[in-house]
Symmetry: D2
Subunit: 455 residues, 4 copies
């Protein structure tokens, strides 16, 4: 590959980062990307969305995470350049000419995200991957402008790394694999800002043992336990933070709120800012997308709290003022009870379409091999002294236990009032009592028919 | 004083906090305040405003800080109740009946803050202290409703603690003094989220030695160095974080942006959300104020980036996309050069009214005694073995050095382009060169007249 | 049970501890134990023995660990007293009268340990459990004297808690179970001093969810993941720290050194301090035992470096100056190669009896149930909302994976020189080369016979 | 200077260090020094001697500290080589050929220390600086042997760096100045192991701004506050840890114990190990010195606890079992009371020669300039944008306050029993009461004559 023209900054620029100490910027192009309006926009999009309703410290944004992924990528490039530089093409070592490319890809891997990506995409048909590619390759963006200064095809190359179509697997897997800079940053960062102790793993050890090989990136065998611990940390963060039932409850409310807004918008009575209006109308441009952020969304929600549509107003208040739904664990068997429960909820005065939802949250902490899908071909390999590779789950009993499994649960969300205790008798008490018969230890359960004496 | 009716929660509720580990909530009234919409609003107001443009991690909000102050207040109350409970009235020990009152005051001490308080107040004549009192005592707020359940006059008592008119000085000084729960929380919290190492002091030691006495709160002498270190930490945080020149630059831009928006609004051409409009029009209510937050402000800024008013659009972009001004240190002497420099700036095409500003940032890290002002009568006292008190600066050479001094600087802000180096010749080059003659080592300086040979 | 007479200290005494912040001492008896010569002796016995040869920071002693176990016990007692005090006998809640007893047991649970306990016991027939009981119950020790002031039978009661014969299972299991104060302290402490990141788990969460029940101690279900993480931490510490091959190598050397010293002592030519001499002679008293510590042992080793017995002198130098043995992993199959390898080692000039050893290191990270043995009946139970108990491995896939398994390895230790590369030809080269044929990727392996062409 | 022959290790060796993460070893000579018996000996000498009696965690040794100084030196060399490499001789930049030299000097700067250096030197006339030079240059040591492999005069060059006679001031000041690798390591390390929070400063920032200049090492001006904070940390560590009155009390006991041992040795009745005997006899060799460590000393103390000399036995027990002396602050004025107090102490049954002492502990936290002495010519300089230097105390009000001052106190140590309260009447009560009249708030004070009525 050609060596890219990389203008060096006269002085290294650093940004203080609580997770990595400093983010180091040495190239003009990286600084230019940082200064672009598309990148600065990330400051206004929280990394974990409604999770900050559960862990108040989790107000960190996609801006810092992108910087963090860049910084880890930069450090890995330095390590590879020092310890494993290519000697001759095809020797499976690191081609240092890829440095700037993979650093820019790390910096931009999440650039397509907007506010509440998951929920938003589902309702408005946006796609953060497609949009990310567009932001990088569209000649009208400041990011594209910055990248083009390196080489005319540099934007497309950066986009291809993120799209995993770039031919060098070491470059692709540094950004996208089961042990990539992306995951290594967000686990540590989310742990730091939420304040939980689970996401910490021995990053200094992982960086000591990471190395390139013919088909991507692997780890030396004296670091097996550090990599194992990273997989366990990932599992713990999903169970404890990302799948927290209150965070999911806020997502359920958000989903219903935006759904209701779409309905009310059709009726022409929704106060709404111009950009969001164009999404509700189904006619939006990249510029509209780039104007969205958490604050714009919440400004709209705030306007909706005064809506004459009771459900819209109530859901907007529930979201802004953290009035979560309750939930119980369900399984294929107990799911059959839901029609009955929804009826009770309806009797208690709530429209089940807007006040209940089944929400699944499952993660595959590690997958040793799957030919397709998100983790395709990205099993973690441990290199032995003699250069042979052993797949991680063959060495670790913990990873083996998680390998290929889906961890998480499926929950049914509903208004909290259904669990009210009858301290003060209410009109709905009999309904509540009936509902509560089906709830035990946080799960739905089948009622046993009372045994008859003759049985 | 009367013992307040305090409904206990059936189970303690905890919130994870990266600074204090857990926030513990044991009283129904505290939980009710937390759930109020006025308090939830704090989630959308950053604690340090534009400082996150300098320290990207500093996205934490007033919500967490208020919780942190509450938690420290709660811990101090526990310590006082265990170690120094009142034996008989007037003995200078701690009257445990004040617990709920001071905890609520800690939780609500900053409730009157809105987005960018300092700048906003200056331009729109709001006052966060007055508004805070109103939020607590206005019978229409959810917070007032929650407090009234404790006792009819409880809102007024909480307000009086924050206003420092409550008669018990121990209660008042736990919230407002030179070593109060407010400062102890924000130093640690701001250090944690910015990632700097300066704000850390030995909070566990400070809590071991804090104690009540007749006129307020003091510290046992075996903790003198911990208290000294806290004062030094405070000084360091001001110098390094709160007074950072880039953060101040963003505040200067914000100030000019809102000023310009007022002007454009008069001309009737400003797109603006309804609540902010009422502030620009000078006719706002408490409800309007409670609808403002960082997101609403930035949504307006975002709309203004498309304004036909060039200055407004430029300032809005500068703020949203972090295009800071440059600055130099000035002093009373070099200030005299500013008219000349402003002329050069004007010649270079910038309206000095909107693109320059003198900004002073000075803090008094410690004041042993001043009869009036912010730190009035709140010198820090160290109790000796025999019960006598010695004021801190008499014991610590470091505190003595800072005592009564004002630390900080005064800077002149102007467009960065004035410092452009003539790599690529530009039309304004001679102006820039003239300007740069006056800048050296980050300060303005007088030019020496060239010495004539005969001299 | 009777309420013990507990003299309170006029002022709480605290010791600074890097792991728990402060150790808090409120009772005269605890302070008296601390001041006893038997307890002060612990300052001179390293917690992890030769592990500091691998992790230089691991110089912490049994003194701090004992204090740490005491402090955790104290905190658990406080939590139980506040949240779960006994209402009526037999209700499965916490009888606060056990506080002082269990705190003293925590403080003294390891008092019987001497220098290099494991190796020492093996060679000299001492037993730290028996000796610990003796130190507590022998009327001549200062510890016994201190305990007797509480009640005449208090020493015996404390001893019975440590011996697990005390009738209240909550008291016993706070000190000895799969999730006891002992393990919780040493995992955190050893992680802190070694500097590894594996031993950290969420102790604040574990302490939030720990609770008494009829048959001992369990955890509330909202803390399942914190307990799961603790088990994983334990597993990681064993794999990474306690079973480190270099630490085990130093233990092997130590064992051979002491064995050789016994032999040389028989011949009457060993310079030795009086107390150790009595162990070598097989006639020692408790007083002799209490005079031993790491420094005394190393002082003897230092004298032995000048011995005319070549093997003794060499082994003493190896131990003092960290000249470790090499090792390879073995299994039942490859073990069959050892006679052949020992012959090669002998040919290379080393006495296999003193320069080789098979060393097994296996731990059972968690055991759901075993009727006998170290972890008997101490499975970890998680309490559901309705009070039912579920055993941990039924809830956690990670714990399930570890449940009942033995993690670790068996290694063969031998002189490092056997692995010498022939950069500089040596007389023993052919022997080394033969030896090295059997070593690959750190394991012994069988050689394949060279395939004949005809095959 | 000549480029030294430096054999690189085939693979970098790392040691886990809780303070710096990893110690990185890349050169064969560094590994050889580490493996030498003179360096391994440091494992058995505590960095802070009796301070572990006050802060139980402070069991770390000179071994780790020496490694830490080496590691910081290595990192500074890397920074200098990357950012400030010499362009032409005499340009004030960094000559990379000094790397190995200064790294070895960092590793060996404290190699001459023995157990309890300060006290030991005072009594036995040893000198750790002279002995350190000897260990490096004596052809019989393993360290000398390792160094000689680099170049015949390499040992002498390393010794000259430590002796500050090496001509390049950058090399000398990296090891010995007011902001050197030695101090930067021990402040952080001692803070970590004691568990206090005072020694922490922003090492990552200090390393970002450190730079060479013509006359040594200085710091860029954007790091002024980090350097200021380092000076304040140093001051705090002295006040809080190194000058702790209990640690000093143990040193006083140690001093008297060794003094008494010398006396008893003269009488020929002291049981003592051979090496220490030669010091008591005044006839010792370097080999004897190298056999001393904390354990050898304590083994002797342990033997002395059984001595028939009552004072020796008592002092040995006091040292081993932490029975500290009490103390009061004194000043030139109150010192005049000491003869009277010593008389009371004598009346109470203690020989003042062995049971009292005046102990001064003063440190000069920073000295802007002194032509002679320990800190000669090592003021800290801050480099401005234009290359001019400003001395630190001109920029920092805190450093200015400490500049040239001596912080600490002078204390009088005496048996604790003199402060006994007369709960239980004793024979010595009147003496104690008389003594206690002179003590108030931890200081000696003059008694005011009782005022007569007529006055």
């Amino acid at each position: 590959m050609p060596k890219f023209y990389s203008e060096k900054l006269p002085h290294e620029v650093v940004l203080r980062d609580p997770v990595h100490g400093y983010i180091h910027i040495e190239d003009q192009v990286v600084l230019n990307i940082l200064k672009s309006k598309e990148f600065q926009r990330m400051r206004r999009i929280k990394q974990l969305g409604p999770v900050s309703y559960v862990f108040p410290g989790a107000t960190h944004t996609r801006f810092e995470h992108n910087l963090g992924v860049y910084e880890l990528t930069r450090r890995i490039c330095n390590i590879f350049a020092k310890k494993y530089p290519l000697v001759k093409p095809g020797d499976g070592l690191w081609d240092v000419d890829n440095r700037l490319l993979v650093e820019c890809a790390g910096l931009l891997h999440d650039i397509g995200h907007g506010p509440y990506s998951h929920t938003f995409e589902h309702l408005f048909g946006t796609n953060h991957e497609v949009l990310g590619q567009k932001i990088i390759t569209d000649p009208n963006t400041e990011i594209n402008h910055a990248l083009r200064k390196v080489a005319p095809n540099f934007p497309e190359l950066v986009a291809s790394v993120i799209a995993k179509t770039y031919p060098n697997p070491q470059v692709v897997k540094m950004i996208s694999s089961q042990a990539d800079a992306d995951r290594m940053d967000y686990l540590q960062r989310d742990a730091y800002f939420t304040g939980v102790s689970y996401g910490h793993f021995d990053i200094s050890r992982v960086l000591r043992v990471i190395r390139p090989y013919q088909n991507g990136i692997c780890f030396n065998n004296n670091g097996m336990h550090a990599v194992e611990d990273y997989i366990v940390s990932r599992y713990q963060m999903y169970q404890q933070v990302y799948f927290h039932r209150v965070g999911r409850s806020m997502e359920v409310i958000l989903h219903h709120l935006l759904q209701r807004a779409k309905d009310v918008y059709q009726q022409g009575t929704l106060p709404v800012t111009p950009e969001l209006a164009r999404f509700l109308a189904g006619k939006w441009t990249l510029d509209d997308y780039l104007k969205l952020d958490d604050g714009v969304m919440e400004t709209n929600f705030s306007m909706w709290t005064d809506s004459s549509d009771q459900i819209l107003a109530d859901l907007a208040k529930r979201y802004l003022f953290r009035k979560q739904l309750a939930s119980v664990k369900i399984d294929p068997e107990t799911k059959k009870l839901l029609p009955k429960l929804k009826n009770l909820i309806k009797e208690a005065g709530f429209d089940p379409e807007y006040y209940t939802e089944i929400n699944s949250a499952f993660d595959e902490p590690y997958d040793a091999y799957k030919p397709t899908g998100k983790n395709a071909n990205s099993q973690i390999e441990i290199m032995q002294d003699d250069g042979t590779l052993i797949e991680l789950s063959e060495l670790s009993p913990l990873v083996k236990a998680l390998n290929g499994t889906f961890q998480g649960d499926e929950r049914f969300f509903f208004p909290k009032t259904m669990l009210a205790k009858n301290d003060e008798p209410q009109i709905f008490d009999p309904i509540y009592q009936e509902f509560q018969k089906y709830v035990r230890n946080g799960e739905l359960r089948y009622l046993r028919r009372p045994k008859k004496k003759s049985e």
